[in-house]
Point group: C2
Chain length 282, copies 2
């Protein structure tokens, strides 16, 4: 079985490692825009062969793990060149646009739109590891448009990796993920920025930082090449939640200005119940 | 040697455990406003005896680990009742006000103002653990006002626990800590609030949450009883950094509205260098 992985970063690389572990006798082909990353992935034995356009037609499965602004063109191109039984799996963080653009392609039923809710703040082939997806959610969108035999293969594989599958409408996906992922990244990036601006003057400040700070700004280490396109593609939903977030911060600020610390206390206490929700997240 | 710990939560309890481990033959006395916490601390063997006002005069060291709005009154009261060789250590998260209020007490030189930059999002005696302070910063304020023999004892003990000591002006402390600790908590609490408000309508949203979200909202589990008084006492500094944080978020939002994703990319890329700074934080 020939498996191609396009984009050999954290996500693509980890899928390659998962295929190597879970699919007996598979041949792994890899492609990356960065020559350096490709070489690194070959050296780390994440993939075995260089995936070239001339090989597309011999792939049984292709996993597309590239920044979301490149996904659509590349997916349309790939569908044109693959054989009639190749499954193309997109694993990007936005789903509405890609699902819409694939809709009319004659090989639409060889395409599967997914979003693995897994990641770390690190990027590149060296960040990939086989256990990344274990126990993590995998969102499938419009899976009824994928050919049943291909879908069945994919579902089996994802379950073998240990992922928890759920189906979701692509527009709903993009709306919800803006809250639980995209907003967290903006909040973290801007927290990092605010503190770093201060640090221009006061180098000592970071000697005082503890694990709480490290935890809240962890995502500010994420790759801008991956995240700027996500923000662009999910702009509408993100602007809405960003507005709500800023409004909540403004309200908190106002309560502090009014010295209404009873209400400050109450707002925090209400939010404490998030621990119940977080209990289910690794 | 008799050591009293007032406030048997995460911080006080962990200091009690550290004393038990590192100070040979010490007798540990504990006090807590909550009868339940006191019983729990005795049961967990965090302390051995109930600390009563009638025992204050036989304490060699008292560690004051209570919410910052109660610290000043309690510290002034304690200094009145302790003997002439007792060391009173305050470990609260704000320092300017307490240093100012202690200034004129005749036993000022038996008082030591500190802030251990250590903690978790959990609270109460059951959250305490002996390794909490290992490798963590400890800020000392106006330690030159503490009697040299008492200060020397404290420094030795803190170093034995593995803390990294640094001296800082109390006003500077409060200003800096607003950035690297207090703002992180507000950012996290409001992120949790924003997402929970949404969750009222859409229960499914949390099934999609990953470890990135968990990391950024971790601090939203923190104790409001501890944090509301900190926000109140450090109001001026916090309002300043909160303004800067909101301004940064507004700027990011504007860039998105203008579809200026080159600049969005650039802002994130600049902030990426925070990873170098975070490398030094556990």
């Amino acid at each position: 079985m020939n498996i191609g992985v396009i984009g050999l970063g954290l996500i693509g690389g980890s899928f390659a490692l998962s295929a190597k572990r879970h699919i007996k006798g598979c041949n792994l082909y890899g492609e990356d825009q960065s020559e350096k990353h490709l070489k690194q992935a070959l050296k780390l034995e994440i993939v075995e062969h260089n995936l070239k356009p001339s090989n597309y037609s011999i792939m049984d499965v292709i996993i597309l793990a590239i920044p979301v602004d490149s996904v659509i063109d590349k997916a349309l191109y790939l569908l044109d060149y693959v054989n009639d039984n190749t499954l193309l799996i997109d694993v990007g963080s936005t789903k509405a646009k890609v699902c819409k653009e694939m809709e009319l392609h004659p090989k639409r039923n060889q395409f599967l739109a997914t979003h693995p809710i897994a990641g770390t703040e690190f990027s590149g082939p060296s960040a990939a590891f086989v256990a990344l997806f274990s126990g993590k959610p995998l969102i499938l969108c419009e899976s009824n448009k994928t050919r049943p035999d291909l879908l069945e293969w994919a579902i089996n594989w994802f379950k073998n990796i240990g992922m928890e599958l759920q189906e979701m409408d692509p527009k709903e996906h993009d709306k919800h993920i803006a809250y639980v992922s995209h907003l967290s990244h903006i909040s973290s990036f801007m927290l990092g920025k605010t503190v770093m601006e201060k640090e221009q003057d006061e180098k000592a400040i970071f000697d005082m930082a503890g694990s709480g700070f490290a935890s809240t700004v962890r995502l500010a280490k994420s790759s801008p090449s991956m995240w700027a396109p996500i923000f662009e593609q999910n702009q509408e939903n993100i602007l809405e939640v960003l507005d709500e977030y800023i409004a909540n911060l403004e309200e908190f600020k106002l309560l502090m200005e009014q010295q209404n610390y009873k209400e400050v206390f109450r707002k925090m206490q209400q939010t404490n119940s998030i621990s119940k929700i977080l209990a289910g997240i690794n």
